[in-house]
Amino acid sequence: MSGNTLDNPGFRLRASYHHVDREGEVMFGFWVFLMSDAIIFGLIFATYATMVRATAGGPGPKQLFDIGSVAIETSALLLSSFTYGLASLALRYHAGRWAVIAWLAVTLVLAFVFLWFEVHDFLTMFAHGGSPDRSGFTSAFFGLVPLHGLHVTSGCIWMVVLIVRMLRKGIDEDVRLGVQRLALFWHFLDIVWIAIFSLVYLGGLV
């Protein structure tokens, strides 16, 4: 059944007739999931935008944000996206499992740096009277930014699981698909962070 384009309609990327294209299916499914997750972030961004002035007499962005610390977080996260990209390239060009594991480990360290400074930021905000129960603004902030942090945390857990699996069994089809999906997730979180950095932090400080 070659030559007839109707054999493989839709998004089937590989010309397989009786066999369903597993990789294309899994990756497409994950893209759709990310689309759904993007809606969640979008809505919480919108909620934040409506509540940024609702400080109810409490501290606002200028009193609470420490742009120096946020700059470190941003650098760490953007760099981690780059190192994850190197892990993906190592996987793609069959550089062996150790290269992939090494780059993922570097990514993990950078993610920890990000989370460490983020938690530090939150504690500072608490100390300055900016806890989530203070006002609509602090609620919206703590609804949005830690949600991203939670995503990063779950990405870290996933990364550890994948590394352990590679250490034990090497790289098989399932691990490869896992690394590819986590890559999408990780870069997606980077994009969300860029939005947080621009809208929440820079927007709050101008």
Binding site: L6, A56, P132
Partner: protein
Amino acid sequence: MSLTQFIFGRLSLHSLPFWSAIQHPTIENIVNDTIASGAASMVIVGAVATAGLITYFGKWRYLWTEWLTSVDHKRIGIMYIVVAFVMLSRALIEAVLMRTQQAFGLGGGFLSPEHFGELFSTHGTIMIFFMAMPFLIGLINFVMPQQIGTRDVSFPVMNSISLGLTVAGAMLVMISLVVGKFSTGGWSGYPPYTETTFNPGVGPDYWIWAVSLSGIGTMLTGINFAVTIYKRRAPGMTLMRMPLFTWTALCTSILMIFAMPPLTVATVLLALDRYLGFHFFTNGLGGNMMNFANLFWLFGHPEVYILILPAFGVYSEVIPAFSGKIIYGYTSLVLATMVIALLSFTVWLHHFFTMGQSAAVNATFGIATMMIGIPTGVKIYDWMLTMVRGRIRFTVPMVYSLGFMMLFVIGGMSGIILANPSIDYQVHNTLFLVAHFHNVLIPGLLFGMLAGYHFWFPKAFGFRLNERWGMASALCWIFGFMFAFFPLYALGLLGFPRRTVAFYNPIYVPYLAIALFGGVIILAALACLVIQLVVSVIQRDQNRVPAGDPWNASALEWSVAAPAPEYNFAVLPEVTARDAFMVAKEHGTAYLPPERFTDIEMPKNSPMGMILCITGAFAAFGLVWHIWWMVGIAMLATIGAMIWHGSLRDYERIIPAQEIREDYMRWLKLVHDAHPVSRDHEIEHDNAGLADLHETMEAAE
């Protein structure tokens, strides 16, 4: 914190439904607690009786291996529909109880306002999240993969997990009958009423977690269905050759992917308010409840179309089948479905016209709302034109379809009336609105689901349902609906507010009495459905349709045996045109054995769905009652189970070609032995599922 508090959280003897009657035995407490305890004991007796029967017949292993851990899309679909029927029974009884209270509500009635509040909240929550959603998801699960010619959905284990999460949510609502009280905030749970300031108890928490669990399950289902339809269609099945039910399944899945996140956001933010003292929707300190209204209806309006589109899909299958024609205006029906899906995201604000935005905003959303009437009208005309000069048979699904067409148009028209903001101001929050949305949801959604249930039941179990009891039920539904809800339009125009426990103006009484009468007829309709199922099972040997095509229908699911083998198709079909099976029958290529059989890989059973069902239910129960150790363990178990599942490698098993050939040949012999029946005799015992092909040819000309 004391040890008891640590172990039991907020749970205590006060959580039992009969406790206040014992403590303060006033008449009101005794009446209300007796009803509540009766309901609670029905839940417990039902659960114990079910468990007892399974033990008595020694069916636990069968249940576990063949059903609960099965990842077969057909079985998962059937389980979804079982859940839907169980929940339908409860919510319907609640509805009749509310009708009874209002019929006797002049000056008081017998239910307390809190009890009445719980009733309308659980009724709405169950009917939307645990009756309608499981029913349509079950139907799509069962039908869609067979219609597009594939063997399973893209992510079979995730499908089982979706079912597990939905069941966990449903269990939570059932548990709320036994311990504690459900929310009194309605199915939409608006803050600030549902904030801790006004509702410190467990009610809103039950609502939040039940709805969140089902919402996450539904989002996963949406991803699963959409990917399946995009990726797994049989060779040659282009988008414009898909059966219309599959088209509506696709649009519904897209809506689920985009519309379930706002629900999750709304419920989780409300939970943050209630659990951690955030100020998203509170009255003071910068909270803004309008954000909840926007978020909730950003979900809630597309949800309406998630509900109705699959029903439209059923009608688009049933009406041509029982008119002996192909569907009229296929392309326009596809376009109308897509337009409805798109417009559904542009109208959410009409749920709160009265909440203070400018006239220009209201007018915009009012016009957008009226525009949805256009594609819907196109569909109604297409269905009517499909029937013109057809060989129409008044079978049960067709009667539901006709009831739908007549009643749904009335419901749609009252929607157009409500879409006008200035009129909406007059009838906002009255029974007029209640009449409107029941008028679209019962004849629209529920009739569609029931028509689908009758239509595809033979495909699922291999025998047809009893026509006589089915007809009795359909007529009871149609006339019961009219009696129960048409008076509500009048009551609404007379100013009767919705969600009202009692009233003091005797003018309402006759209308409410008629509505109660209608409610009782609907209860009879449910009873008829139960009797029908029992009678049909007893008489199953007389109504078997092993050849698989009892209605001389056109889509691929009818081209295989009934019940279908677990792999659906011995060899994946090749599609060259729309109405693939009808075309095959016309060309004489149906029922031809394939040249070659090959081994088939099918996914193995997985306990993941049941594991996440149990951990999800425990986590939610712990959250409701502040039993933090339970939440912690359940969360860790969930993560552990996911990591364990990810480490599995051997998740497929092979069905050998020899076995498939034997099954196929056995079925083919049944087909050759079967006596073909013409359309006029399809509800008689002769119907073995083989249509009179001569007649098919005639229809084609």
